[in-house]
Amino acid sequence: MNIHYEFPLEEAGYAFGFLDEYAKKEVRRTILKAICIPGYQTPYASREMPMGRGFGTGGLQLTLSLIGTNDTLKVIDQGSDDSVNAVNMRQFVQLTCPGVEVTEKLEEATLIQSRHRIPEIALTETQVLVLQVPYPDPLVVVESSEARRKIMHAEADYSRLLVKLYEDIVHFNEITISHRYPTRINRHYVIDPSPIPRWDVPKLNQSPALILFGAGREKKIYAVPPYTVAEPLVFDDLPFRVEDFRDEHGQRRACTRCGATNSFLDEYSDDNNIKIYQCSDSAYCDGQLAQHQQREGKA
């Protein structure tokens, strides 16, 4: 035991961006490789972060490696800026990256870290979206060995994944994959687009913004570069379908709060057991509401 050991001072304990510079450099190099090979799961060392594996450590490493004091960061989880995990992440970045602005407004953000959603409003060329990924490999459902999966990816052999879809249609008359819908990037690699709903998958295609995927626990980074083809894996004669928000009369449900009929809705029951539908993207919902109020004010 070293009785003379002195603990580091609180503020001296952690550098800007938490990770040491070598680690950030490695992540940035990996990002470059991932952009060069769209959809390829690029392995990297992945450091331990002070939050649980599975809580977004991959996304966080991307964010911390990219962020600078001229950036404005938005963090969302389940579409919301204020969900517990988003708050936690945002606080951590504020703590370790002094000088970085944070925002809830999409248009102000240069860097957006998200879990399970892509914002409703289209991103721009000046923005980077970082998605947190629990399972990077879409082939894991049909092949458990990573060594064999690597070969299948290299040869763009996704026949076994398609057989799974075939079987779904045979048994359920419908593809049962709800989220994490396998998506082919630049006509070669199929990615797991992270647990975004099918609603968000079309937003990957030809996106003006760079979209980065970080899987911390599985130690992989991959990318959909700007203006890249992203196609959900389907059969030629069966179209891809997003979530259906029509009620029993075929009417599109509206957000109970802002009235939007063009957003992904969260469904839950209130205390009287009445179904409530509300925009999952809370910033979008706020924006819609503000517009209504403005219009009503004028009227």
Binding site: R47, R53, D82, V84, A147, N173, E267, S280
Partner: protein, 373 residues
């Protein structure tokens, strides 16, 4: 407002932190835990955390144990996260464990071994009867324990190093010759595992693996899902000097020492390669701290994985991917915990699929009934 937290996440986090802290501070004794007490009196707990944390820093480990209220997974995790902030400045040359300052050294292969068996600290032959006298220990008596022990210690001239048991077996030709590895050891903190991985990557992964996970995998092999049938040639616990090159002269110098547990098992023999005679096979385990079960488990798994890498895995414990990707405590506990996070969006999407599928099935059902009518 309902369960869906549109606002209030921050308040909830702060509240949770406060109540967690409250549970620690509720202790009627009024005495905050002293780090030295954790490091010494709970030395095996500290050992486990330095080993799984992959950072030899017993004092920080004690702090982590205190901060996370005794959760070894969380404490090891905090050490790892702390380690992420530190650059890798240099690598030590290969450390020779013959130079270990042993506190314990046994072999189950031989009745006596060159240098002698040395039982040292362990619970193997103590009866697991609760010592009720420890419940209310007199501080003065407690303070005299170490003094009395040291006072009664005979003036023994313990050697600085002990020969390895395996060296004798090797000299007899019962073991394969040591393969000279020219490769740099694989650094799992700087390179991801891409299979197939070298043995050094497997050893490094297991050295900081979660003890229970490693034990479970090794136990499956011991019980019959595998056939290592090990004999512990040598298990030693002690301090190994850490040599680092001097920043100016480059000469090796001692920077300190680390407590290490090391285990070498001898397993069933296999036919020799090319013109060689058949020999026993070996398994090696080593980790920071005093963790005997972990070192033994690791040695068994090292052997089973070598077999799997050579002949193809026949059991889970022989499959490098299966073992190495599932023994890390930080990874596995993190992922198990993440299921507690909100999954509203994905569950919404799941409900959509099920409802659509049910709808189609219902429609098909009605259509077939119409036909019958």
């Amino acid at each position: 407002m309902s369960y869906v937290a549109i606002k209030g996440g921050k308040a909830a986090i702060d509240g949770a932190a406060a109540v967690t802290e409250f549970l620690r501070g509720r202790d009627d004794s009024g005495e905050p835990l002293n780090l030295s007490a954790i490091e010494c009196q709970l030395r095996l707990l500290t050992s486990r955390v330095v080993s799984e944390g992959g950072l030899y820093h017993p004092r920080l480990a004690s702090l982590a144990i205190k901060q996370f209220q005794g959760d070894t997974l969380e404490a090891a995790f905090a050490l790892r996260a702390y380690r992420s902030t530190k650059p890798r400045l240099l690598a030590t040359p290969v450390q020779n464990s013959t130079n270990m300052r042993c506190i314990r050294r046994i072999s189950s292969a031989f009745k006596d071994i060159p240098g002698g068996q040395m039982l040292g600290p362990n619970y193997d032959f103590t009866l697991r009867l609760l010592r009720f006298d420890l419940a209310d220990e007199d501080p003065n008596e407690f303070r005299s324990i170490a003094r009395k022990f040291l006072g009664a210690l005979p003036e023994a001239d313990l050697p600085d190093s002990f020969p390895k048991v395996l060296d004798a077996l090797r000299a007899e030709g019962l073991l394969p010759p040591v393969a000279e590895s020219r490769n740099e050891p694989f650094d799992i903190t700087r390179e991801p595992l891409v299979f197939p991985v070298p043995r050094s990557a497997a050893l490094a992964t297991m050295a900081r693996a979660e003890t229970g996970s490693l034990l479970a995998m090794a136990y499956s092999n011991m019980r019959g899902y595998g056939d290592v049938h090990p004999t512990v040639a040598e298990l030693r616990v002690g301090y190994i000097p850490v040599m680092v090159p001097h920043p100016v002269t480059g000469e090796p110098m001692e920077a300190g020492e680390v407590l290490v547990t090391e285990c070498e098992v001898v397993a069933m023999y296999e036919s020799g390669k090319a013109d060689c005679l058949p020999t026993f096979t070996l398994g090696y385990g080593a980790c920071f701290g005093h963790n005997e079960v972990k070192a033994i488990s690791m040695a068994i798994l090292d052997r089973s994985l070598q077999k799997g890498m050579q002949d193809g895995p026949e059991n889970p414990s022989e499959d490098p991917e299966f073992v190495l990707l599932h023994v890390d405590g930080v990874d596995s506990m993190g992922f198990a915990s993440h299921y507690k996070m909100p999954h509203y969006v994905t569950f919404q999407s799941d409900m959509d699929r099920l409802r659509t599928t049910q709808g189609k099935a219902r429609a098909a059902d009605q259509a077939s009934q119409m036909e019958v009518v």
